[in-house]
Symmetry: C2
Subunit: 345 residues, 2 copies
């Protein structure tokens, strides 16, 4: 990657390096218009492209914003990524992407890499975990983040604080009211659903999942309902599918219509997909609700009841966009949890 340099431009224009820099790359001092024109012409003729690395080095600010997600192809993350991207664009920065499949150890690597690139800020999306196997990874991640912040970096975390991070300068959490919203969902569901509830959750220790479970249970309790059984599985479609398979027989055997709360939309879809070939229809034989309100899944039928989350805004907020409204979700009851009376089988 060689290219023409500023000094080449300066020489061609017959001015000094300093002047060329002032003309081309913005400065408080504006050289005279005729000189500026000469420089611009020279730059144009040479196809000059400023070396951002060198600029960053010289003024120690890279114009980079690092984004850490579990999997960029997951619609949840790609929606957040879009928000981050937009914020970055507004701030005239570029986003650096890292996918980590959620392992804190990988996330630590990513943070280090971002720090190495002197990213101005880092956004971490994806649920925090307190699982024991992640213990060490979490500690290291926290240390890495602390160091990054101490060196002047800004960190935006979606959802929960990074486990063990000392809430330092520049450290900033976009709170997602998972628990409240889940409670709200439970309340609304309890209002129309008579039978029992069941929760298909992610592995224990995943904050997002745990919060939603807790909130849902609280909502049930507030509505005078018994605690729901919780099935633990993977926090993704595959996990939901597995749970669905495990549930099919049981649903068919039981007389009552079970109401399933999958802690996110893709899991709900997975459950439904597993149930369908078994002849278990939603909402006829069981009802189901998800969480996130993933855009791509909105055309899914039966329309999935869920909790809307402004994922794009969340991304924007985490990326430090000042004029993004605070996070506020909303329960969306749709066909998948309709009561039998209204439903036409």
């Amino acid at each position: 990657m060689a290219a023409s340099t500023l000094s080449e431009v300066a020489r061609l224009a017959g001015v000094s390096l300093a002047t060329a820099s002032r003309v081309l790359n913005g400065s408080t001092r504006k050289p005279a218009e005729d000189i500026a024109e000469r420089v611009r012409e020279a730059a144009d003729k040479l196809g000059y492209v400023p070396n951002a690395q060198a600029q960053a080095l010289a003024k120690s600010s890279s114009g980079l914003i690092g984004l850490i997600v579990h999997d960029i192809a997951d619609p949840y993350f790609s929606a957040i990524a879009r928000g981050v991207q937009e914020a970055a664009h507004q701030q005239n920065r570029m986003v650096l992407l890292a996918s980590t499949s959620g392992a804190p150890a990988d996330e630590k690597e990513a943070v280090a890499a971002f720090a190495a690139r002197r990213a101005d800020s880092i956004v971490i999306a994806g649920s925090r975990s307190v699982r024991t196997e992640d213990k060490q990874g979490n500690t290291e991640l926290a240390a890495e983040l602390d160091r990054y912040c101490r060196n002047g970096g800004h960190v935006g975390v979606v959802g929960h604080p990074v486990v063990g991070a000392s809430t330092d300068e520049g450290y900033h959490v976009v709170k997602v009211p998972n628990e409240e919203l889940s409670a709200g969902l439970a309340a609304e569901l309890a209002a129309t659903h008579e039978g029992s509830f069941l929760i298909v959750a992610g592995p224990e220790g995943l904050y997002t999942s745990d919060d939603r479970v807790r909130g849902f249970q609280r909502g049930l309790a507030d509505a005078g309902r018994p605690t729901a059984e919780v099935i633990r599985t993977g926090f993704n479609r595959a996990g939901g599918y597995e749970a669905g398979l495990a549930l099919a027989e049981r649903i068919k055997a039981s007389k009552e219509r079970l109401c399933i709360f999958a802690v996110n939309d893709v899991m709900a879809i997975g459950v439904t997909a597993a149930l369908r070939p078994e002849g278990v229809w939603i909402p006829r034989d069981a009802t189901i609700a998800g969480f996130d309100d993933i855009e791509t899944l909105r055309d899914f039928r039966p329309a999935l009841s869920t909790v809307h989350l402004p994922l794009e805004d969340i991304g924007r907020l985490a990326a430090g966009d000042p004029d993004t409204p605070p996070v506020s979700g909303a329960v969306k009851l749709r066909r998948s949890t309709e009561t039998p009376v209204e439903s036409q089988v």
Copy 2:
């Protein structure tokens, strides 16, 4: 973003800058083990993080790979992005993201920004366009890319060559057999479908869309069928939805079962979504096929007939991964195009 520097480490370890560099950041020359240990300790104590900008500047290679997509939240692009990300990870690079909504002018900006950051290579995903409004943008984009390549950059384009780019050194197109696959889809559909066909396409001038239309028409012709009518609309869900609205009355009025080919999956979903509330059911009243085989949409019902594209592999290939198999798609006939006999309404 200040942090401890290599020279601080060197001083603390009591060695020279050169030695510290050799120990910490890899070199052909390996200093003695005891010295190396001292340096590593010092680095650790200071929390040294190498400045990648400075490294890039010094060895003129940034370890960056730029990715240009229309919209990162679009599942088509996020799947490709995942592939790129994986390839980058293998190559020990990071991916820089840019979303451009498909405007060549924006893409040109993005290329310039990547070039400024001295990205080692650039991947451009998203259909090329020859629409007149994009004429100038295309020219500029081509010029920018040419310059980038001439300076030693590598470019990987998904689908079609960038309009007007002189096929230079370092310029590399991942061919997607859109036309052939569409022809194959048409052939398979023609084998079971008696009635007429209709194509819901993107705006004229969008290569991907045009290729798929052309292929489909060819496939029909080869099967002895008349040319299908083509409806032009947006190349996204909204476009499909619009087309669906426009088609509803017509389908209801007609006696025959129309077979619709939407040139991509999200458009197909859009069409279906518009048709459903009108009482037009798939595949009872009309059949529909898409293209891409988007993962998130696989649980959609009726299951969408489509053409599978190995999007992740495409991303990998475009990012220059050597051991990724060449692109090969496959027609997937599913429920949405089943013939009446087999379908249970």
